[in-house]
C-alpha cells in the first residue's frame, strides 16, 4: 500500500466491521479521511487524541478510529469535550458533529464554547438535514427546500454556522466541502494547531435524504453542486457582490488571537494558591 492509504489504515479500528455504516457516497467518509490525514500531519499520537461526537450519522464517526473515542448524547458533544479538556489539558480534543447536533439541539453549547474560547476543535458536517432520523429539516436547511417535515416547502431561514461561530467569539473559523478534500485536510490541520476554539464547517451532502427529496441527484451530482457553488476566500475577494450571489466561501474565514480559556484559568489558580498561602 502507498503511504496515504497505509496511513488511513493505521488509524482505523481493526476490530470494527467495515465497510462503515454510511450510505454509498456519503460525504462523512470523505471527511473522516481528511480528519485522519490532518491528525497524522500534525504529529499527534493516538493516545493524546480524544475524538468526541454527538448523535447522528456524523456522530457515528469516532467508533471507526483508533483514538480515545466518545459518542455522547445528541447535541452535547461540546459540553462533554469541555469537561475532558479542562480535566486534562494535555489531551487534544476534537469534536465532530452534524448540523443538527451542532446548531439545532446543540446550538447553545456551540456559541458558549466559542465565547469561552475553550481549546477544542469543532468539526461540523453540514448536510442541511437530519440524516440519521430520515430527513427532517434542520436549522441549516435552505429556505424553499423539501424535507420529510417540510414536504410542502421549507419556510425557515438557515443559520450560517460559520458566521454564528465568529459572532459568538471563535478565533478560528474555516469552511470546506467534501468535494474539496485537500482543502479539508489543510483546514483541519490549521484548526488542530490553533490554540483556542477552532471551527471547521464541512459542507457535505445527504443524497439519501436531502438529495432524493429535492431531486438533486446522487452523491456525484451533489458534489458537483459543491464544486460549482464554492468560491475560495481568495477568489471571493476579487468578485463583486453580484457575482457572489448564490455562492458560498471556502477557506479560512477568520483566524485571530484571543485569550484561551485554560491559560486564563491558570491565572485564577495562581491567584487562588497565593491567596490560600497567606
Amino acid at each position: 500500500m502507498p503511504e496515504i492509504t497505509k496511513l488511513i489504515h493505521k488509524y482505523l479500528r481493526h476490530d470494527k466491521k467495515f465497510p462503515h455504516v454510511w450510505c454509498p457516497g456519503c460525504g462523512i467518509g470523505i471527511m473522516l479521511g481528511a480528519l485522519i490525514r490532518a491528525i497524522d500531519r500534525c504529529g499527534f499520537t493516538k493516545d493524546e487524541i480524544v475524538l468526541v461526537s454527538g448523535i447522528g450519522c456524523t456522530g457515528r464517526l469516532p467508533v471507526y478510529v483508533d483514538f480515545n473515542t466518545l459518542h455522547t448524547t445528541h447535541g452535547r458533544a461540546l459540553a462533554f469535550a469541555t469537561g475532558i479538556k479542562l480535566a486534562n489539558p494535555k489531551l487534544k480534543v476534537i469534536v465532530v458533529m452534524g448540523d443538527g447536533d451542532a446548531v439545532a439541539i446543540g446550538g447553545n453549547h456551540f456559541i458558549h464554547a466559542a465565547r469561552r474560547n475553550i481549546d477544542l476543535t469543532a468539526i461540523i458536517l453540514n448536510n442541511s438535514i437530519y440524516g440519521m432520523t430520515g430527513g427532517q429539516y434542520s436549522p441549516t436547511t435552505p429556505y424553499g427546500m423539501k424535507t420529510t417535515t417540510s414536504s410542502y416547502i421549507h419556510i425557515e431561514q438557515a443559520f450560517n454556522i460559520s458566521e454564528l461561530a465568529v459572532t459568538a467569539g471563535a478565533p478560528f473559523v474555516g469552511r470546506g466541502t467534501v468535494y474539496h478534500a485537500k482543502l479539508l485536510d489543510s483546514l483541519m490541520e490549521k484548526a488542530f494547531l490553533k490554540k483556542g476554539f477552532a471551527v471547521v464547517e464541512v459542507i457535505s451532502h445527504c443524497h439519501t435524504q436531502f438529495g432524493k427529496l429535492n431531486k438533486m441527484g446522487g452523491a456525484v451530482e451533489m458534489m458537483q453542486w459543491q464544486k460549482d457553488h464554492a468560491v475560495t476566500v481568495e477568489k471571493a475577494a476579487t468578485m463583486s457582490e453580484e457575482e457572489l450571489k448564490g455562492k458560498f466561501k471556502i477557506g479560512v474565514l477568520v483566524d485571530k488571537e484571543l485569550p484561551v480559556y485554560l491559560d486564563e484559568y491558570e491565572k485564577i489558580r495562581q491567584m487562588a494558591m497565593s491567596k490560600k498561602e497567606k
Binding site: H71, T82, G83, L86
Partner: protein
C-alpha cells in the same frame, strides 16, 4: 471508614452545602461544573473559590445539561467530578445522568431539594425528588442515592458518594433537603485523619488486552482514563464488552443485567442508616433527611411519655434499604413514615411489607419541615 482521630484538628461552623464541598475535596474531587440554583448555589460558590486552590477546576456552564456533560467528560479524563443542582436543574440533567449510567462513568450529583413541582418553592425545603432520583432518566437503570441529616453526614456521605461512585462506576446522587443544605452545624475535621478513599480500579494489563466493558467477579470492569494509552470507545448506545454499539440480544441482556448486578451484588456495602431504639419498639418511625431529626426528637419524647417508639434513619435511599426496613417491619406493630412529599419512601415500605405491620404516613408539602410535635401527634393518633 477507618478513622484515627488525631490532633491537630479544626472545628468549623459549616453549612450542609459547605460540608459537601469539604467532603468532596477530601474525597479527591478536582472538577466541578454547574449552574447556579437555590438552594444549591453555595456549593458552586465554594467550589469556585476552593478548587483552584488545590489545582482543580471550576466552570460554570451555560445550563445544567452542559454541567452534567462536562462532569462526565472530566471523569472520563480521569478526574473525580461533581455537580450540584436543585429540582429544575436535576430534571434537566436526567438525560446525561442516564449516559453516565450506561457508559459507567463515576461522578457525584447533588440535588438540594426544594419545593416542587416546577419552580415551586425555591427557598423552602422538600423531600420530593426521592423517586425522581431513582426513575428520572429514561430506560431501566440502577442508581445509588444517599441522604444526609446532619452537616457531619453531609461531609461523610459525600466522601462515601465519591468512593461508591468510583468503586461501582455508577453516578451517585446526594439528596439533601434545603434544611440540611442551609443549616449550619459545628463539624470537627482532623487534619490528618485517615479517611478511606477509593479510586477507580485501572486496568493493569497491556492495552491490547484491555476489554473496557468486560464482566468481572465484582461486576465492575476496570476503567482506563482517556490519554493513558488504553484507547477505547465510550457510547450511550447499548454496547458489547469492547464498547462498540451492538443490537445483539445475547450481548445486550448480560450487559444490562451486569449494570444492575454490580449494585445489587454489593447491596450490603451500600446501606447506611441508624436504628434508634427499634429493638423493642411497638412503633417505629422511618425517616430521612431533616425529618429524621424531628423523628428522633419525637421518639425520645415518646419514650419519655412511656411509649415504645423507635426510629430507623435511612441515609441510603437507593438501593432501598430493604433489609433494614424488613427488620423493623418484623418487630414493630406500627410503622410511621413522615415525609415532606406525598408519600414516596412509604410506597417502598409498603412494597416490601409482607407481614401485618400497619404503615402510616405523614405527608407535608407546604414548604415547612415536619415537626416533632406533628410526629408525636400522629403517634398518639395511631398508637
Amino acid at each position: 471508614m477507618k478513622k484515627k482521630p488525631k490532633t491537630p484538628y479544626k472545628e468549623f461552623l459549616l453549612q450542609g452545602n459547605e460540608a459537601i464541598v469539604e467532603g468532596a475535596l477530601r474525597a479527591g474531587c478536582r472538577f466541578f461544573a454547574g449552574y447556579p440554583i437555590t438552594p444549591a448555589t453555595e456549593i458552586a460558590e465554594a467550589m469556585s473559590v476552593k478548587l483552584p486552590q488545590v489545582g482543580g477546576t471550576y466552570i460554570q456552564m451555560e445550563d445544567e445539561i452542559a454541567s452534567m456533560a462536562a462532569v462526565i467528560g472530566a471523569s472520563l479524563a480521569g478526574v473525580k467530578s461533581m455537580t450540584a443542582t436543585s429540582g429544575p436543574g436535576f430534571s434537566l440533567m436526567q438525560e446525561n445522568l442516564g449516559f453516565a449510567i450506561m457508559a459507567e462513568v463515576p461522578c457525584v450529583i447533588v440535588d438540594a431539594m426544594r419545593g416542587g413541582p416546577s419552580t415551586g418553592l425555591p427557598t423552602s425545603p422538600s423531600q420530593s425528588d426521592v423517586m425522581q432520583a431513582r426513575w428520572g432518566t429514561h430506560g431501566d437503570h440502577p442508581i445509588i442515592a444517599l441522604c444526609p441529616s446532619t452537616v457531619r453526614e453531609c461531609y461523610d456521605l459525600t466522601i462515601k458518594a465519591f468512593n461508591l461512585s468510583e468503586k461501582f462506576r455508577n453516578p451517585v446522587i446526594i439528596l439533601v433537603d434545603e434544611v440540611v443544605a442551609h443549616m449550619r452545624e459545628k463539624i470537627t475535621i482532623f487534619e490528618d485523619e485517615e479517611v478511606e478513599i477509593f479510586n477507580r480500579i485501572k486496568p493493569n494489563m497491556p492495552p491490547e488486552w484491555y476489554i473496557p466493558y468486560v464482566d468481572t467477579p465484582s461486576g465492575v470492569p476496570p476503567m482506563a482514563n482517556f490519554g493513558e494509552g488504553y484507547r477505547y470507545h465510550v457510547t450511550g448506545l447499548t454496547h458489547d464488552i469492547r464498547g462498540f454499539p451492538t443490537s445483539r440480544p445475547d450481548e445486550i441482556d448480560p450487559f444490562i443485567r451486569r449494570l444492575f448486578r454490580k449494585i445489587s451484588q454489593h447491596f450490603s456495602e451500600l446501606q447506611f442508616g441508624e436504628f434508634y431504639e427499634t429493638d423493642d419498639a411497638d412503633i417505629t418511625i422511618i425517616a430521612y433527611g431533616c425529618v429524621a431529626r424531628s423523628a428522633k426528637r419525637a421518639a425520645i419524647d415518646a419514650r419519655q411519655k412511656g411509649l415504645k417508639v423507635g426510629m430507623l434513619k435511612l441515609n441510603t435511599l437507593w438501593p432501598f434499604m430493604r433489609t433494614a426496613v424488613e427488620k423493623v417491619l418484623n418487630t414493630s406493630k406500627i410503622v410511621i413514615v413522615p415525609e415532606m412529599n406525598m408519600g414516596q419512601i412509604s410506597r417502598e415500605v409498603k412494597r416490601v411489607n409482607k407481614g401485618s405491620t400497619k404503615i402510616f404516613t405523614i405527608n407535608k408539602v407546604d414548604g415547612t419541615i415536619i415537626t416533632p410535635q406533628e410526629i408525636l401527634a400522629r403517634i398518639k393518633e395511631v398508637g
